[in-house]
């Protein structure tokens, strides 16, 4: 466990010092401006606009930090081969990978939580509203989504053979992950059996990022978010992350460093 902790702190320090947090700053500025503009143009409900756009901003800034971190660290670790000296140490590849996952997630959490606090401040002091419990719940869901995406991204890093490939596959997965929610609708349409089978396989394999998407429903009075739903979402996030992590781990164990 200690070695995982050391890898985590090493990764965290590396990412923070590579100025990833500037993305938080940039995202915060962009989303504050957009929210303010939209609130003027939309005639009212300023606090709702801040919260809606704020949640989008939290997700986008977290994803952007993750993509850039994956690109930068792929270059350092695999193309420049900084990973050699670490794996030659008495640390298992599984510990190394888990430490990297936690390190990445720590940086992303800083960005997402930072944005969340800023949005909450804007809602209270500028919008004159209150931060709803569903906003906080939605923010936590975004954090869970970011954890799942982190494991996916790092698994791609362990499998990928180029930085561009890793980033592209990751972005494609994020996009498809949001589309997954509509696959069931597609399955109810009149499609060829082979297409339906393929859709089912895609549905099983890709992450259902819509499961963490409460952004569209934080004002929905019909939304039920109780202990059962929390348990299912957390379990889904953990289960998918575990599967992806093990796939990444197996690839790292078998990977040959030429």
């Amino acid at each position: 466990m200690k070695k995982i902790f050391h890898v985590t702190t090493f990764t965290l320090r590396e990412l923070i010092r590579s100025k990833m947090l500037y993305i938080w700053f940039l995202s915060a500025v962009v989303f504050c401006l957009l929210s303010y503009l939209l609130s003027i143009l939309s005639f009212g409900e300023v606090h709702k606009i801040f919260m809606d756009l704020g949640l989008v901003g939290m997700e986008w800034s977290g994803t952007l930090v993750l993509i850039l971190s994956l690109a930068v660290t792929y270059n350092t670790e695999f193309e420049q081969k900084a990973i050699y000296l670490q794996l030659a140490k008495p640390v298992t590849r599984g510990e190394y990978l888990l430490g990297r996952v936690f390190g990445f997630f720590a940086v992303i959490s800083l960005v997402v939580i930072g944005m969340g606090l800023l949005i909450a401040g804007l809602v209270i002091f500028v919008g004159g509203g209150q931060v709803t419990n569903l906003f906080i719940d939605s923010s936590v869901f975004i954090l869970i989504e970011m954890f799942v995406l982190t494991t996916i991204g790092l698994a791609f890093q362990m499998i990928g053979t180029s930085m561009v490939g890793v980033v592209l596959y990751f972005m494609f997965t994020v996009f498809l992950g949001h589309c997954i929610g509509q696959v069931e609708w597609l399955l109810n349409q009149n499609l060829a059996p082979a297409v339906k089978t393929m859709l089912r396989i895609v549905h099983f394999l890709l992450p259902n990022l819509e499961a963490f998407n409460l952004k569209d429903r934080i004002y929905d009075p019909n939304l039920i978010l109780g202990w059962v739903q929390w348990r299912e979402v957390l379990l889904y996030g953990f289960a998918y992350s575990f599967v992806v992590f093990v796939i990444g781990w197996i690839n790292l164990e078998k990977r040959e460093f030429m």
């Binding site: 200690k2 070695k3 050391h6 890898v7 090493f10 320090r13 590396e14 010092r17 590579s18 350092t76 420049q80 081969k81 900084a82 050699y84 000296l85 670490q86 794996l87 030659a88 140490k89 008495p90 640390v91 298992t92 040959e256 460093f257 030429m258």
Partner: protein
Amino acid sequence: MTTPSNYAIQIKDLSKTYKTGFWLKPKVTNALKNFTLDVYEKEAFGLLGLNGAGKTTATKIILGFLAPSSGSVSVLGGKISNREIRNQIGYLSELPYFSREHTGRELLEYFGSLHGFSGKVLSQRVDEVLELVRMSKPSKDRVSGYSKGMLQRIGIGQALIGKPKLLICDEPMSGLDPVGYKEMRDIFIDLKKMGTTLLLNTHIMDEVERVCDRIGILHDGHLKEVASVPDILQSSVNVDYWVDVDAHDASKLSGVPFQKSVAENGGVQISGLVLPETLTLLSQKQVKTKGVRPLSSVMEAYFLKSIGARTSTEPTEVAK
């Protein structure tokens, strides 16, 4: 002399084949072929070879970065996947690369923590290693500002941080200036005296001569020879010698077999004799010598002869 049971590294019939290119018609490259080698504990072993001979491949298989196609490797009596074994190994890769955002001290602290050090013990160990590799002052600066030599020093520092029993270095002298080169060589000699086993992949013959006890010559994936360095230095490998003599003495050597060329200022190149024979020749001719120096190293000549490359000792026309 160590007993056969005290092996640091035991490699048996190791082969490594790469397949590259289109998967239906791959290009097969045999990087290593039936490579068998034993490195004894507490010895310094130099692995020599041309670029592409398979030295780095062999090192990576020893360290577990590559899986062998066949054969077996045993390190410090066990498998490299064993964490306790890796705790006793230090590794320096060729042109080591580190995260640019950390300072030298932070890097060593990180690598030391992976070896299980913590707190004051870690801090003291880092100070010792920084002192050893002469990086105490720049240790608080970020790695992004380090020169090649400084990176190499930090590299050797992280390899030594865990007090390894076995140190494996791939081209450890790369990027070092003459002072750094001497300091690195002194570190290796000190480590050897302390009982650390060294495995050095290197091209630098001087380093091999001064540091290593034995060498192995790898060529085209095959281990051509394994020999002890003292034996090589005393062997009958011929190198050319340049003898500085007075101009009038140079004429005494004209027409002498083995004399390759004469310079106007009184220098004579003698080819085809080992050093004692060269000195005997000079004495017979009653030539007053001002200095004798080899034009190439014995080790280099031995290496080139082993791999079948043309050496400068091949006979040429005797100067008239």
